[in-house]
């Protein structure tokens, strides 16, 4: 009898937990839809507030994309670009996010230099796709080499196949490396950010850095980071003037 009671209580608690998770999911979806309605009616500030509220519990490519659209419409190009970049980190193949990002960059005069062949190759897939491909290639390479020899597979075919998988692993590894170079970049979100010669507010300014510019942060000192932007300019930038794409 006691055992049955315990089982009953256990099942009840599980059901409660499931209901709670389901309710939370429904609640998020409701908030997401409300934010979308606010956007449609042109109330971008409310849309941003609701989307940002949802971000506190996690994020999805769709959420970052919608948030980016809201920021773009409200004139905050830096935060818009930041969130498009975040959406693309989660879903590199999202053509909407890519298209909107390009449009916004063009509109704000943030032209990027033409990519060379290597950069185009690295940009074919996202970091995680390249990582997965490298892992699969690596496993297949060893599988082909270690599986027992069968009469249907000759030695030459085995080595050819292994070579192909090794090549795939190396190419994907290069893709991972290339993507990793840009993984920890940040986006300038302040409209009047200035690069300075040393990490102090009173230091001389090298020049302004446009909102929405991608920067690669290096060493830090106090509230400043030594950054290099896409055009190769480097200087000290206040940490509040930019936000990292990857919030790790």
């Amino acid at each position: 009898m006691r055992i049955n009671d315990r089982r009953f209580i256990g099942v009840f608690v599980c059901l409660l937990l499931l209901a709670r998770i389901g309710w939370a999911g429904d609640n998020r979806q409701t908030l997401f839809q409300e934010a979308g309605q606010a956007y449609s009616s042109g109330d971008y500030a409310v849309a941003i507030e609701k989307y940002e509220g949802l971000r506190a519990d996690g994020g999805s490519a769709a959420l970052f994309y919608n948030l980016a659209n809201s920021y773009a419409q409200s004139g905050q190009s830096g935060r818009a670009i930041l969130n498009y970049e975040r959406a693309l980190r989660l879903e590199p193949g999202d053509s909407d996010a890519r298209g909107n990002l390009e449009l916004l960059r063009r509109e704000k005069g943030l032209f990027q230099t033409e990519k060379n062949l290597q950069q185009q190759f690295v940009g074919l897939l996202g970091m995680n796709q390249w990582t997965g491909l490298a892992a699969v290639g690596f496993v297949l390479f060893w599988l082909v080499l270690l599986l027992p020899m069968t009469s249907t597979m000759k030695r030459a075919s085995r080595y050819l196949l292994a070579g192909i998988f090794l090549l795939l692993t190396c190419a994907a590894g290069y893709g991972v490396y290339g993507q990793y170079q840009h993984w920890y970049e940040g986006v300038v979100v302040s409209p009047d950010a200035r690069l300075r010669v040393s990490p102090f507010s009173s230091a001389a300014s090298i020049g302004t850095i446009q909102e929405g510019r991608l920067v690669h942060p290096g060493k830090a000192h106090g509230d400043f980071f030594l950054v290099e932007d896409e055009t190769g300019r480097s200087g000290w930038l206040e940490s509040s003037a930019f936000e990292p794409i990857c919030e790790e």
Partner: protein, 624 residues
């Protein structure tokens, strides 16, 4: 005696070799051991404890006893450090060996005030080693610099002025002209002469002394030549630089340079070897260091103010002689695409004041902040500045990239000049670039047609209206912007895969080793067969079937010896055993008993079977 001579010769050779070995070891110890165990020290010094805003000071960081120079120069508000080089020095004085690395930085200040360079630390094997903080003051421009002399003892400071009869070193500064305008680049040649045979080390670059002018940053490496003056040969260091007047009026300026001269000193020794000048100079001379300041004669230069009359509105301070060239690419674009307008201003003058030329008309264009790049052209003040500016046509009927204009002051003609480029013909795709009234009418028509056929062209509507719409589904809200290889599950999976892979590789290696080793294979087969037979023998023993027991014992002996001797097991006879095994081998006893049982039907008791089993097991296991 012969033996003794040989011994002596041999021992002499041996001794010489021994001495040589000891010398090599000694040298190795001298060269390598002291640096390994020498105490690591770091020190820093600034060549000036006070310097004006328009000058720089030199910070020297010396790391002794270590080749590591992994130091971090601390950040100081209002100060910037420019690394200027690194040099290594190895010294052996009186058998004491030392090595040091000297790092040099230029210290540039951005404001007046008192500053402190905090302690510079170096990680050593004994812990952290750090310098003392350095305090210094930056004064307003034009204040006299207090140069600190690094060595106070054993050296004398001599001031050499041009005009002295026996000049060891002197400086000549030749400006292109004596009168210039405020902000104008005044090319100047600086030559420092050292009499041939004098060894000199430069402690600083030539620095300007006097008010009203600033000296452009000099090249670190001057041009080195030799010149004959009044039948005396000089080594000459030449810098081509420029002065720039910053204050109107007449100014007296000169240039100075700090150097260390190595001066040979003669010892007047009564016991000089052979009284020969060669030996005298070879043995009886030594060098002493002499810190000197080489200064140029003072010169009077005049700085004029720029005239107010006819000053163009877009004049930004450029003084010199310039030309303007513009290009634009692409000349045919899709609506909304940018055009890059490249403007090149070349010539000579103060390029730091040359700003991006203005568009004569921005009507119909959206413009972006231009980027600029200065390309030097050898001599100071000569080169070209290239501006790149992105432009986007706002209107569809734009047919040309607008002209740009640039104003400057020509000091030779003593007047302001404005140069204007020609507009560049340009086409937005789908629009015909035509001229004339009838053509313009056609153009208007074509624009209207275009407007009808394209419902929302990018150039006529705000681009943000064309943003792709929102995504309706929220998607998986647990998405993390984390690299796959930083995720726990991926690492665990990778770990398991690697473990499995390692296991498979080890097993495969073991199998390959087994396949390549016949002894291992034989031992394995013997163990396997023995285990099988032992089981059968035990069965026969339990069943008290002594005939079968003995037959199985004989088979086991034949199988094991067959594998060991690499012969057919069935062909092994008692005679083979007696011939190849020791006389007292238990196997011969068992084999004999088995033979007798087969031919005479001899039976064994349980005790005997147990005894045979023990012997058989022991003997056969001993074979493997």
């Amino acid at each position: 005696m012969e033996y003794l001579k040989t011994y002596t010769r041999k021992s002499g050779v041996g001794r010489r070799r021994g001495i040589a070995a000891v010398c090599v070891l000694f040298l190795a110890c001298i060269l390598w051991v002291p640096p390994l165990f020498a105490a690591v020290e770091i020190s820093a010094s600034l060549n000036a404890n006070s310097f004006p805003l328009d000058r720089v000071a030199t910070l020297t960081v010396t790391v002794s006893g270590s080749s590591s120079t992994d130091i971090q120069i601390p950040e100081v508000d209002g100060i910037q450090f420019h690394a200027r080089g690194k040099s290594s020095q190895f010294e052996m004085i009186n058998g004491s060996f030392s090595s040091s690395v000297v790092l040099t930085y230029l210290v540039q200040a951005y404001r007046v005030g008192k500053f402190t360079i905090p302690a510079i630390t170096l990680n050593t094997r004994d812990g952290l080693s750090s310098t003392q903080p350095i305090r210094f003051e930056v004064t307003s421009s034009g204040t006299r610099t207090a140069i600190s002399t690094p060595s106070q003892t054993g050296t004398a400071s001599t001031r050499l002025r041009s005009g002295e009869a026996d000049k060891v070193a002197f400086m000549r500064v030749t400006p292109e002209k004596k009168t210039s305008y405020s902000g104008e680049i005044l090319p100047v040649q600086i030559k420092v002469y050292f009499r041939d045979g004098i060894k000199a080390n430069l402690n600083s670059l030539p620095q300007l002394s006097g008010e009203g002018f600033v000296l452009q940053q000099l090249e670190r490496e001057p041009v080195q030549t030799r010149e004959m003056i009044n039948n005396t040969r000089y080594s000459v260091l030449t810098w081509n630089s420029a002065l720039s007047g910053i204050k109107e009026g007449k100014h007296t300026v000169s240039l100075e340079l700090e150097a260390t001269l190595l001066v040979r000193q003669q010892r007047h020794n009564a016991r000089s070897m052979f009284n020969d000048p060669f030996f005298g100079s070879f043995f009886d001379s030594s060098y002493s260091e002499k810190q000197v300041t080489v200064a140029s004669p003072k010169m009077e230069l005049t700085v004029l103010g720029l005239p107010e009359k006819d000053r163009p509105a877009d004049f930004a301070g450029a003084i010199g002689e310039f030309s303007l060239k513009t290009t634009a690419v692409p000349l045919e674009v899709e609506p909304g695409d940018p055009v890059t307008l490249t403007t090149t201003i070349s010539g000579h003058g103060n390029f730091d004041r040359v700003q991006a030329p203005k568009l004569v008309s921005e009507d119909g264009w959206k413009t972006y902040t231009p980027s600029s790049e200065f390309l030097k052209d050898g001599s100071p003040g000569r080169g070209k500045k290239v501006f790149e500016q992105a432009l986007v046509a706002r209107k569809k009927d734009v047919t040309e990239v607008p002209a740009v204009s640039f104003s400057y002051f020509d000091p030779r003609a003593k007047r302001y000049e404005t140069i204007t480029s020609a507009p560049i013909p340009f086409t937005v795709k789908g629009i015909q670039n035509t001229t004339g009234e009838s053509q313009s009418r056609q153009k208007e028509q074509s624009v209207q047609q275009e407007s009808r056929s394209v419902p929302a062209p990018a150039v006529t509507e705000p681009p943000l209206k064309t943003l792709a719409p929102l995504h309706l589904g929220s998607g998986d809200m647990d998405g993390q912007i984390t690299p796959l290889f930083n995720r726990l599950w991926f690492r665990l999976l990778g770990g398991v895969l690697l473990l499995g892979l390692t296991t498979v590789i080890v097993l495969r290696a073991k199998a390959a080793r087994f396949a390549a080793n016949p002894v291992l294979q034989r031992d394995q087969a013997m163990k396997h067969l023995l285990a099988l037979r032992e089981k059968e023998i035990a069965g026969a023993q339990i069943a008290a079937d002594s005939r079968r027991f003995l037959a199985l014992c004989r088979t086991a002996i034949q199988e094991q010896l067959g594998l060991l001797w690499e012969t057919e097991a069935g062909a092994i006879t008692l005679a083979d055993l007696q011939r190849r095994l020791p006389e007292n081998s238990g196997l011969i006893t068992i084999f004999t008993a088995a033979e007798q049982s087969a031919y005479s039907g001899q039976e064994l008791s349980a005790k005997e079977m147990q005894k045979f089993t023990t012997i058989l097991k022991k003997e056969l296991e001993g074979l493997v």
